[in-house]
């Protein structure tokens, strides 16, 4: 059989942003699916989104309600979502209540009623909500074989009538085994909801999907007034080709730092700027983004600890205008502060912004703020999530500069608190150092994956023009990186007088 002889399985949109991507393109047409999950996990809302995304007067959607949420209440609540199109009701979307038949009659009567309605309407989509009720009823009065036969006949009927079917049910994971519903189904979409401290986490998984490859694993989703929105673990970049490696070097806007970096930051690198509070990490990051805009590279700044206006205002103190480029759509400052974000959701926002303005540079200020904005359980996966995020973004050619706050230690010299140094291509370490009765600042380029860099330990200052790095390396001291250096008294060496600190304007 040649490739051309294969049957083409059309894919239907789910109407859920991000979910088609996770499904591998959409819902396989004529498939027989289960939407499972605990109460309140969003099953009915998902079914409605699918229904409204696909139903037409020619190929309507039949929504069979059975002893679950009363239909009147379901309509009352579901119409609040923006996807709910009243114009489709009774025309393209039809609700049919089967409660009485289920209560009073047997499975054959239920099947007959469904068949009658399906043959009358020739629907494109059929939903049975809740199918769990049907199963419970069946198991109370008949044996398991009868139930299996019923499900088999239902699947046959609906597939033969070219309907894509969704059986909605409240199941727990242990029920997957030996349950005929799960055996017969082509697709199994599981929705989870859990609380972690004060946050609610929603995740979904495509447990099974015949005929096409879906993105494995758990994906976070959110329910807003637009319905469900899913965030793929691969951020929709799974099949995307990595951008060819660039030889371009990006200026940080600090010429002497560029020189230390061997000409600037290699494009597409992930740079970590680590240092204690007040060492100038954000100043460096702001200069990096402002320099990019000056050179025609649009940028994104993701802030967690201050609002965009404050961030832009602070940049203004260093003579950097971040207001104008925002109006010109060359810069976007994203403020992400909710405390129950998932990394995938954050990434979606960042990626959307990157695509919107064609960003080449991205600043994450700071990783500590990012971690705090996540729901507690996502914090445990922070390192893995960062890896996915950095890989995804650098893969599309974005150069990332992240700041990370370090506790200043005078006995060690760590690069980051997250053990993520291996994730980054380049590390710039800023630190305080006690010299001649002054708390001064030094910087070191710790590593650069893309090539040679200066090994100098340079002093720098934060002035009204931003970060100013000294011309020469700091000599005459031993143990600078401990923060408490010892002066070397070499013969013939001139002693430098202690400088008066310049006030930051």
């Amino acid at each position: 059989m040649s490739r051309q002889d294969k049957v083409t399985i059309n894919q239907l949109p789910t109407g859920v942003p991000g979910l088609d991507e996770i499904l591998g393109g959409g819902l396989p047409e004529f498939s027989f699916n289960i939407i499972a999950g605990a109460p309140g996990s969003g099953k009915t809302t998902l079914a409605h989104q699918i229904v409204f995304a696909n139903a037409t007067p020619e190929r309507p959607a039949l929504y069979f309600t059975i002893l679950g949420e009363p239909a009147i209440k379901m309509l009352r609540y579901q119409q609040q979502y923006t996807f709910f199109d009243q114009a489709k009701l009774n025309n393209a979307v039809r609700f049919i209540n089967l409660s009485q038949i289920v209560l009073e009659q047997d499975l054959n009567a239920v099947l007959e009623e469904i068949a009658k309605e399906v043959e009358k309407a020739s629907p494109g989509i059929v939903v049975v909500d809740s199918f769990r009720t049907v199963v419970r009823k069946a198991l109370s009065g008949s044996n398991e074989l009868e139930l299996q036969s019923f499900i088999q006949r239902l699947a046959l009927l609906l597939t033969s009538w070219q309907a894509t079917t969704f059986l909605v049910g409240e199941y727990v994971e242990g029920e997957i085994r030996d349950n005929p519903v799960f055996t017969v189904s082509d697709g199994l979409l599981w929705l989870y909801q859990s609380s972690d401290r004060n946050s609610i986490l929603r995740k979904l998984q495509i447990v099974k999907l015949r005929g096409q490859g879906s993105v494995p694993g758990l994906h976070t989703f959110r329910i807003t007034n637009g319905g469900l929105q899913a965030f793929s673990r691969t951020l929709g970049l799974g099949g995307q080709q990595r951008k060819m490696a660039s030889t371009r070097r990006l200026s940080t806007g600090i010429p002497k730092l560029d020189a230390m970096l061997g000409g600037g930051i290699p494009e597409g690198d992930s740079v970590l700027v680590a240092g204690a509070s007040g060492t100038g990490k954000s100043v460096l990051a702001t200069q990096f983004i402002a320099e990019g805009i000056r050179q025609g590279d649009p940028g994104i700044v993701v802030v967690f600890e201050e609002r965009p206006q404050e961030y832009a205002g602070r940049a203004g103190n260093f003579g950097l205008d971040l207001e104008t480029p925002q109006h010109e759509r060359k810069l976007e400052i994203l403020y992400l502060r909710p405390l129950d974000l998932s990394v995938d959701e954050t990434m979606r926002e960042i990626l959307d912004a990157v695509r919107k303005i064609g960003a080449k540079r991205l600043v994450i200020d700071s990783l500590a703020g990012f971690e705090m904005a996540l729901a507690p359980s996502f914090r445990t996966e922070f390192r893995e999530s960062l890896y996915r995020m950095i890989t995804a973004l650098t893969g599309i050619g974005v150069t990332i500069l992240s700041t990370v706050e370090m506790d200043e230690s005078f006995t060690e010299f760590p690069f980051s608190t997250y053990s993520i140094s291996f994730l980054t291509d380049d590390i710039i370490r800023l630190r305080y150092v006690s010299i001649d009765g002054q708390l001064r600042k030094i910087l070191v380029v710790i590593k650069m994956r893309g090539g040679k860099h200066s090994n100098d330990i340079r002093e720098y200052e934060i002035t009204s023009a931003g970060m100013v790095v000294s011309d020469d390396r700091l000599t005459g001291y031993q143990g600078l990186i401990t923060g408490i250096p010892v002066r070397l008294n070499r013969p013939g060496q001139k002693e430098k007088p202690a400088r008066e600190p310049k006030p930051k304007s």
Binding site: P70, I72, K73, L75, R76, Q86, N90, I96, N97
Partner: protein, 143 residues
């Protein structure tokens, strides 16, 4: 939508059914026919039990204003019993008022629960030939 609007809508449907029923079903009240016509789609949507609950509530609300409805009951299948057996009252204003109140309360409940848009759509599906746009009249009244 205000109760006035549901009364207007009920009045419109009753008038339509009264005119339509003069020749076809002269022995049935217009309220009974309106109720029967709403029963089918509402049973399909909400189930017989769901429709019965709504109609029973509407009847209880209407009875408070029209004691003549005290003999009227909702059957197991959601049909109205006794609306046409109001005896000597049948053609009186009181009986008509009772029927109109019952329909207005039923529509009022639908408006309350599923909103104006879906209720009007549902009504329009049942009486497609009845060209009315209560939405406009309702808005005018509210304005």
């Amino acid at each position: 939508m205000t109760p006035t609007v549901s009364r207007d809508l009920a009045g419109h449907l009753l008038a339509y059914e009264a005119a339509a029923g003069k020749d076809s079903e002269p022995t049935e009240s217009a309220a009974f026919r309106v109720c029967e016509k709403l029963r089918q789609p509402l049973c399909s949507l909400a189930g017989v039990a769901g429709f019965r609950s709504l109609l029973s509530r509407a009847l209880a609300l209407a009875r408070a204003e029209a004691p003549s409805l005290s003999a009227v009951q909702v059957g197991a299948d959601g049909s109205l019993k006794g609306l046409d057996e109001l005896g000597p009252q049948r053609d009186t204003d009181k009986a008509m008022e009772g029927g109109a109140l019952l329909i207005a309360q039923l529509l009022g409940l639908l408006l309350l629960f599923i909103g104006e848009g879906i209720t009007l759509r549902l009504v329009q599906d049942v009486w497609p030939e009845s060209a009315f746009d209560d939405r406009d009249s309702g808005k005018e009244k509210r304005a």
